[in-house]
């Protein structure tokens, strides 16, 4: 314990960490999730949930609160690492870490592509003369230049971004609420929360498998554990708070939007990528549609991609540094202090995949399902990591935090995965199979997965 005490005594912790407090951790999580995230996938969640998007978001939030609890435990055990890849590798075994990293990579590398696609669809809704693929190329090009120039999110910019999104959301809620009071839409109803005519658990969980997309990013808070003024405890708290806040915002906006949907039967039958904007138009007219779609385009296509690019670069770097991915992905530009190869790789991938997906009717849905599939599988392994690390290896007697909660969280997620889009399940399995083949190849070439040692932090390790 002595080294830690002496560091504290000389103010090491205070000065090393750049002082990101609880509010900024929560803001970062919200910036990653986006307070207006449901704007883009509302139609999909509505149709998959049988018109009960509120229930889908509530179940998703509960599932991810359990995931956040497991994250908090693993951040406590390994406070210097920031990815489920590291937690599984260190908590269970390096090969499991590799496969988990491989699965979560499906989430990380597809997220920028989905962000560009959604932003392009939103811009196309406002300016239909420019095709979706052209908007997509433009968004990728602008982001590539911004990222390569080393322009990065700052604490201040994160706050500003959240504030702007909350203003747009408040505008929609006020005008939407007023429209409902004036007899617009279908008036107040509990149907978006529970509709006995369409309810079944498989339907709800199938919708959750899409709705959780809006929550993905809360886990990004774990990347800031080294900068957190309150260490791993504060990171855990921030994750819970961010999820609860986002959950409250998501539930409110989809409830109002669901009551304003102009043609519920058609939306249930066909789905739509622009359903939220249509609901906004019902509430406030065309100008509110444009406000909602432009806010989505800017927040998904510019602000969120900045955050997502850093996250994917960190994962690629961590895996490449451990020789589990090609080393060129870990190369950085010293001149601009950016992971240039990862940025170029992601840009090329986003253009290729984005153009392909923009040509498919189910592009957004398929990408969302794949991203969620990667994340869900990784989160399931995270729960297993908690059980293996604490309950099995350390013999922890904290049964709730180290056994029951991870088991419940894992159970919910398994149910979500089972009820997810069949194509996403298939692609997820194929991706896992490719990962297993790569793992075998690594073994065959004598490059078995191994994680770099972390400096021990005795005062925090093993805490319950």
């Amino acid at each position: 314990m002595r080294p830690q005490e002496s560091i504290e005594q000389f103010g090491y912790r205070q000065e090393l960490r750049r002082g990101v407090g609880l509010p900024d951790l929560v803001f970062y999580g919200l910036a990653f999730m986006l307070p207006i995230a449901p704007f883009a996938i509302f139609g999909l969640v509505y149709s998959r949930s049988g018109g009960m998007p509120v229930l889908a978001y509530l179940v998703g939030m509960v599932a991810l609160l359990f995931t956040a609890a497991s994250y908090a435990q693993m951040v406590k055990a390994f406070p210097l690492s920031g990815s489920v890849y590291n937690y599984a590798g260190r908590g269970i075994a390096p090969p499991v870490g590799f496969l988990t990293g491989w699965m979560v990579m499906l989430d990380y590398i597809l997220v920028p592509c989905l962000l560009y696609l959604v932003a392009s669809i939103a811009m196309n809704a406002s300016v239909p003369q420019v095709p979706v693929w052209a908007w997509l190329v433009l968004f990728v090009a602008v982001n590539m230049v911004i990222n390569l120039r080393g322009i990065r999110m700052t604490v201040k910019l994160t706050r500003l971004m959240i504030a702007a999104e909350v203003v747009v959301l408040a505008l929609f809620l006020l005008i939407g609420g007023w429209a409902l009071l004036q007899g617009g839409g279908r008036g107040f109803s509990l149907d978006p929360l529970f509709n006995p005519a369409t309810f079944s658990w498989p339907v709800v969980f199938a919708a959750v498998s899409v709705a959780v997309l809006s929550f993905l990013g809360f886990d990004g808070i774990s990347m800031l554990v080294e900068e957190s003024t309150g260490g791993s405890e504060q990171v855990g708290r921030a994750m819970r708070l961010a999820l609860l806040l986002a959950g409250a915002l998501f539930v409110t906006q989809v409830w109002v939007a669901a009551l304003l949907v102009p043609d519920p039967a058609a939306l249930l039958r066909d789905g739509s990528d622009t359903a939220f904007y249509d609901a906004a138009a019902v509430a406030g007219g065309e100008w509110l549609r444009h406000v909602a779609s432009t806010a989505t385009a800017l927040s998904w296509g510019l602000a969120n991609t900045l955050v997502a690019q850093v996250a994917v670069s960190r994962l690629l770097y961590a895996m490449a540094r451990d020789r589990q991915l090609p080393s060129f992905l870990a190369k950085v530009s010293v001149r601009h202090s950016v992971p240039s190869n990862a940025i170029l790789f992601m840009s090329a991938l986003s253009v290729a995949l984005g153009i392909w997906m923009s040509a498919r009717d189910d592009g957004v849905g398929l990408l969302s399902s794949l991203i969620n599939m990667g994340a869900m599988v990784a989160f399931i392994v995270l729960h297993v990591s908690v059980i293996v690390h604490y309950a099995l290896r350390q013999g922890s007697d904290n049964v709730w935090a180290h056994l029951v909660a991870p088991l419940v969280g894992m159970g919910i997620l398994i149910f979500v995965v089972i009820n997810a889009n069949v194509l996403a399940q298939l692609v997820g399995l194929v991706w896992l199979g490719v990962g297993a083949a790569v793992l075998l190849a690594l073994y065959a070439f004598g490059r078995r997965p191994a994680l770099r040692d972390l400096p021990p932090v005795p005062s925090e390790r093993g805490a319950s």
Binding site: R18, R152, E227, Y317, V334, S337, P339
Partner: protein, 212 residues
């Protein structure tokens, strides 16, 4: 005979062009300068570095250099992970190094107006010979004219890590040159190899940091 500048001051000169404009990102340079100052202290025997940890050797007497003394005081008060004092000293390494070079008369302050309106301040070398001297050891080592000492090996390593090989004005492909510079650093002392590697990791980590 001209007095040799501290390692981080030589590196500062190499990391700026003739107009005083930085050639690399501020965060990369700051980490390189702090690492160079720690290397100087290690080569002087004032600190000991081994297996990722650092501690002061004997009584920490001041060196008279702001960056080095700041590092020394910090290592004396909190020995341990070598990355910590480098990150800590990097916060103001550029400013402290620049001020020391101005005080020594190596740099001069030049104020200009961009398009005759916006005032800008640059710090340029008073005599280009100081920049040539800063790179001469590394150049000689790469060309094989002179056997590099440990200080020269350290500078070669840092030039390679910070991708400043172009400032050596050698007629070699950049990739090969960087490989050669790293080889020279590796053939230096164990401390040189270790600290150059630590700076390399820190520069990379700074490039993927969530917030700058």
């Amino acid at each position: 005979m001209t007095t040799r500048l501290p390692l981080h001051q030589d590196l500062y000169l190499l990391a700026h062009d003739q107009s005083g404009k930085p050639l690399i990102h501020q965060s990369s340079m700051a980490l390189g300068l702090a690492g160079a100052a720690l290397l100087d202290l290690a080569l002087d025997g004032r600190v000991a570095v081994a297996r990722g940890r650092v501690a002061v050797s004997g009584r920490p007497a001041p060196t008279g250099d702001a960056v080095a003394d700041h590092l020394l005081a910090f290592v004396a008060s909190a020995p341990g992970d070598v990355r910590v004092p480098i990150r800590k000293a990097a916060a103001d390494a550029c400013v402290r190094t620049r001020e020391a070079l101005i005080a020594a008369g190596v740099l001069v302050r030049v104020t200009k107006r961009v398009m005759g309106v916006v005032p800008t301040t640059r710090y340029v070398a008073a005599d280009i010979a100081s920049v040539v001297r800063a790179s001469s050891g590394a150049r000689s080592a790469v060309e094989g004219w002179k056997e590099p000492d440990t200080r020269c090996a350290a500078l070669c390593g840092l030039v390679g890590v910070l991708r400043l090989e172009g400032e050596l004005y050698l007629d070699q492909p950049p990739g090969e040159l960087v490989t050669r510079l790293r080889e020279i650093a590796g053939s230096g002392s164990r401390e040189v190899a270790e600290l150059v590697s630590v700076v390399d990791t820190l520069v990379t980590e700074a490039a993927i940091a969530v917030y700058r």
